[in-house]
Symmetry: C2
Subunit: 137 residues, 2 copies
């Protein structure tokens, strides 16, 4: 797998599994919608400012983003380690906003409960069945 | 959701997402097969002794196990925080072993590369669309 093939794999997935480290040092994982934008080594997600993960990432930016596909014959997974930045600046919020978001964020694109998570990839592992390949970004 | 309903939800899933914290403080997530045994607050998984997660858990037992189901209408997720114990003792290995494992572990149930992960649940969160419920175990 090349880096380009990993990006293509990510682009096909509907779900991302995002992990943070909480205030007591426990890993915490949750499913999120796939990234809205992939730009070089950066993945952008939209989320609620009031969610617990925002508190985790403000305290500790260490993060993991995992993508997974289980087919009938083989399973593939991509695990990426990196850092997560919480973006509340209006230009980033404007760029990542989509029309349907107004049904979640009643105040629209300036709603303080809408923010953007920017994940910067540092290294990755690609799993295919029992094989593992390592990558640096 | 009661604790019993959470267990029923877990029993229906084919995949578990297991997270550890690595030697540099980064969360690391990977898909695994569903637990082989659920006993009270403990979930048992089979795995390779040589895998990186074993090193993570021996150094830091803090763990998260996440289960996820995305239906056509709603998504549900269960995130459980707890501690992971690496079991290499023969009675536990004997108990969790299944016949098909001999195709992976050539030396059979005493193969040193076969071991058991025992996860003890401490607290959980159940997600259904945008709602969250907390549980203590």
């Amino acid at each position: 797998m090349t880096k380009e093939q990993i990006v293509k794999f990510i682009e096909k997935q509907k779900t991302a599994f995002i992990s943070s480290v909480d205030e007591n040092g426990f890993p915490v994982t949750r499913a999120m919608l796939a990234p809205r934008k992939i730009d070089g080594n950066d993945l952008y997600f939209s989320t609620n400012t009031s969610s617990k993960k925002i508190q985790h990432f403000l305290r500790n930016p260490n993060a993991c983003v995992y993508f997974y596909q289980r087919g009938k014959i083989k399973y593939q997974g991509v695990m990426i380690k990196g850092t997560m930045q919480v973006c509340t600046d209006q230009p980033t919020k404007d760029e990542i906003w989509r029309f349907g978001d107004r049904f979640i964020y009643k105040k629209g694109v300036t709603d303080p409960d809408y923010c953007v998570l920017k994940f910067t990839c540092k290294s990755a592992e690609y799993y295919c069945d029992l094989k593992i390949e390592d990558f640096d970004f």
